[in-house]
């Protein structure tokens, strides 16, 4: 018995000592539920938004766009453009370090730009103008162009997938078709690879040696000051449970609460709903130009008259507070957003649609419309499209499937009767569709275009013109011409915009208005 007492006393002392030894400071941890679990870690290899968000945690960019869309130096101290617009002299900020403690060099940046340029559609376009990229000294390098283009600044400050993140040379030299296996970045947080458990959680730790800019943070630009020691992204797949966890304080941050659950959150005094104007998405209808009936431009044009945006938005989102009817291809209110020439379309003018179908000689070939059923934001779009198309006189064969099956099927060029397809609907984050070059579905280079494979020389010439132009006023004129051309060839049809709010605990402060959720500048108050 005496021995037992001694043992208990010893254990109590040990506990007491261990408590006494606990440091007086406490580590701040923020727990977030993102829109998806992180499974892939290479933001250049894939365009998935969750991987882009991961990229912003651990990597940095040479240039960045602020809250207003203005392009600002980020890793760069400065950049200078020669009078002829063909030489860009870039100077890195002093003291930039990789997470392994080595300095960031121009060689690292050149290799990173090359890898990004091999994967990203805007990067590919930009690289077609690049003659050479050469390091000058430990902090400066030069990009020499074959001819002037506005794409260098636009591309290197691209805010959404694929973002030109800078990586160490040894990592950036990875074959662009293969995923990287070294996750050393130079951003404000370090990826804790040992703690990464796909399907469970992803952990980021503050990078103490990160040197933020002195300017205040704005959008993706300015000082990236990490104010939280540890950030955990938890994989909660059930939306209701994510909301319950947020209300109970088990998590602090919910990136994309379901809009039908916002009512519950709004009634909770401990929760803040953030409606960032940059967290907007655009719904689009994508026809397949390879097969009947959409191989006929006039039949595709009938769609512009059959559709109206209100029906799509109300069916898919439902809450008028979060939707916006906007016929601009490049997003209403943005630099290149314009509604010029769109008055007559997207008004469900069925008479006009029927006339066009008659003129085109539509023979009743059924439209195989792929209907994604498992992503709530997309589920109700295809039934609306079917209904409106049928009213216009189309015969529609709507085929339901999960999103991943749709993603696989849309890459098939086979005839719709042999496993191919005619149309589907999806959504884009507005940051991805802000101009004619970044809007992937406008690529009309036939076989090289994305699924749907539009083939139009005029459109490609206009996109090239936009790429060559560096005067914003002239770029705007070209963007309007691209929009008009799209209404003729129907590479895609915008069927409305909606806002995706974000929810967080009231004690989480400092969230930036940005096209992607970023965690620098955020702090947790008592």
């Amino acid at each position: 018995m005496i021995q037992l007492r001694k043992a208990i006393l010893a254990a109590a002392c040990a506990v007491g000592l261990s408590l006494a030894a606990t440091p007086s400071f406490s580590q701040t941890t923020l727990k977030a539920v993102m829109h998806s679990d992180l499974k892939i870690l290479d933001p250049i290899w894939t365009t998935a938004y969750i991987v882009r968000n991961h990229g912003y945690m651990i990597y940095d960019t040479l240039l960045a766009q602020d809250e207003t869309g203005a392009i600002k130096p980020q890793m760069l101290e400065k950049y200078e453009v020669s009078a002829d617009g063909k030489t860009y002299a870039l100077t890195l900020r002093d003291g930039l370090l990789w997470h392994d403690g080595k300095p960031v060099t121009p060689e690292d940046c050149i290799a990173s730009i090359k890898r990004w340029g091999a994967r990203d559609s805007m990067g590919q376009k930009m690289m077609s103008f690049v003659d050479t990229m050469t390091p000058n000294d430990a902090r400066t390098f030069t990009i020499q162009l074959k001819e002037p283009t506005g794409l260098v600044l636009l591309g290197l400050s691209k805010p959404s997938s694929n973002v030109p993140f800078m990586m160490p040379k040894r990592v950036a030299e990875t074959d662009p078709t293969k995923q990287i296996e070294d996750f050393t970045g130079s951003g404000p947080f370090v990826f804790a690879k040992d703690e990464w458990k796909p399907g469970d959680k992803t952990v980021y730790l503050k990078f103490d040696k990160y040197k933020p800019r002195s300017e205040p943070a704005s959008g993706m630009a300015g000082g990236k000051v990490a104010k939280i020691d540890r950030i955990e992204w938890l994989a909660v797949s059930d939306q209701q449970q994510a909301v319950n966890a947020l209300q109970k304080g088990e998590i602090d941050f919910l990136e994309q609460p379901s809009i039908d659950l916002l009512g519950t959150l709004k009634k909770d005094a401990s929760i803040t709903i953030v409606e960032s104007p940059q967290a907007k998405l655009q719904y689009v209808f994508r026809p397949n130009h390879l097969h009947k009936p959409f191989d006929n431009p006039k039949i595709r044009q009938a769609l512009w008259y059959a559709f109206n945006q209100e029906d799509f938005l109300m069916a898919a989102v439902g809450d008028p507070a979060y939707i916006k009817e906007c016929k601009a291809l490049f997003i209403c209110g943005s630099t290149f957003g314009s509604v010029k020439g769109t008055d007559d379309v997207l008004t469900s003018n069925m008479k006009k649609a029927q006339e066009l179908l008659k003129e085109a000689g539509y023979d009743g070939t059924p439209v195989v419309l792929m209907h994604s059923t498992d992503l709530k934001a997309l589920t109700n779009l295809a039934p609306v499209a079917k209904s409106l198309m049928e009213k216009a006189g189309f015969k529609v064969d709507m085929q339901s499937m999960d999103w991943q099956t749709l993603v696989a099927r849309r890459t098939k060029k086979d005839a719709p009767s042999a496993g191919g397809w005619n149309a589907f609907l999806t959504s884009w984050v507005t940051a991805d569709v802000m101009n004619p070059v970044s809007t992937a579905y406008l690529n009309s280079s036939c076989e090289k275009a994305l699924f749907g494979w539009p083939c139009d020389e005029t459109m490609e010439k206009l996109r090239d013109q936009f790429a060559r132009e560096s005067d914003p006023a002239k770029q705007k004129v070209i963007a309007e011409a691209v929009q008009a051309r799209n209404m003729e060839i129907t590479a895609e049809i915008p069927v409305g915009e909606y806002l995706q709010p974000l929810a967080m605990r009231k004690n989480v402060k400092g969230l930036l208005i940005a096209p992607a959720p970023v965690f620098w500048n955020i702090e947790i108050t008592k």
């Binding site: 499974k39 990203d120 796909p198 449970q241 319950n244 109970k248 993603v407």
Partner: protein
């Protein structure tokens, strides 16, 4: 006995082979393409084809199967298409939560269901019997996610006694581990309580009408001894069968519960892998489930010999 065990173990080989062929074909014949999923929205056909080549999905199906089965035979379950980890490592990470959940669930189910079934049989035809059987019908009828949401609302949100979701590894503290398993285990155990209670009642009623029970009572044995020593032991074979089946079904049936309560177990891994068309992971997990199923059946057969000396292999 050892000969029997060896024979049964050998019998698992063709079973596993059939499962392997079936799951392999099922995945390849479904209209999906992991390469397209991995490539993302902006990828063109060439990029998708490139990824398909890297993953070996462009090879003839037979060749893919031979490569895979060859690796499995050497203990290599392959590498996940998405997670950039070996499937063995992924499964290893996920086993503890699933086993914990299964263990808690079966414990609750057996500890609640067997006494309830005995009570219902003992009080056959009374309101107690009807109450137990009514609960049993309800347990069978309510979907797992409805029970889960109800329990979450009452115990986590309204009473604020338990966490809403999440899992804590046992190495981080037994208290937190157990606390996070209570709600999911209760949720999952309802259907097993219903199943085992019904089986216990039915089995016991059959035994209670036997002559030796009447003899035991005539000898003046107290009712508790009659029920638990004489009746329950002889009624145990079908009950153990149901519990064994329950454990086997649990291993594969934790999918909804793990998703609902955000438990990073094998069930969630399966769902994630299926949604992402992660062939190596799906194949490995299904093979594992099948193996566990076969082994539990073997274990149940061996337990019979302990419960009933007449059974010999």
């Amino acid at each position: 006995m050892i000969g029997y065990i060896l024979r049964r173990l050998l019998q698992t080989i063709p079973v596993m082979l059939v499962v392997a062929i079936f799951i392999f074909l099922m995945l390849r014949l479904t209209p999906s393409d992991p390469a397209a999923i991995i490539a993302g929205d902006n990828a063109n056909a060439d990029q998708v084809a490139q990824i398909r080549r890297q993953l070996g999905l462009d090879l003839p199906m037979l060749q893919q199967f031979v490569i895979w089965i060859g690796k499995v035979l050497t203990g290599d379950l392959g590498e996940s298409f998405f997670f950039k980890k070996t499937v063995a490592a992924l499964v290893g990470e996920r086993i503890e939560p699933t086993l914990s959940l299964a263990f808690f669930t079966i414990m609750i189910a057996v500890l609640v269901a067997v006494p309830l079934g005995v009570l219902a049989a003992h009080r056959q035809g009374t309101w107690i019997d009807r109450l137990v059987m009514g609960f049993s019908v309800l347990g069978f009828s309510l979907p797992v996610f409805v029970i889960g949401y109800l329990l979450i609302y009452v115990f986590a949100i309204w009473l604020n006694w338990l966490p809403v979701q999440g899992y804590q590894h046992i190495s981080q503290g037994v208290g937190g581990w157990a606390q996070r398993l209570i709600l999911p285990s209760l949720t999952l155990s309802v259907i097993y309580i219903a199943l085992i209670a019904r089986m216990t009642r039915a089995s016991l009623l059959e035994v209670l009408s036997e002559d030796y029970i009447r003899t035991a009572r005539a000898k003046g044995q107290i009712e508790r001894k009659v029920l638990f020593r004489h009746a329950l032991r002889n009624a145990a074979v079908p009950i153990v069968t149901v519990i064994g089946l329950g454990i086997a079904l649990l291993i594969g049936g934790v999918v909804v519960t793990e998703s609902l309560f955000t438990i990073p177990g094998l069930g969630r891994l399966t769902v994630d892998a299926v949604l992402a068309r992660d062939y190596p992971t799906i194949q490995a997990v299904i093979l594992l489930f099948s193996f566990v199923y076969v082994m539990i059946n073997l274990a149940v057969d061996l337990i019979y010999t302990l419960l009933d000396p007449r059974i010999r292999y």
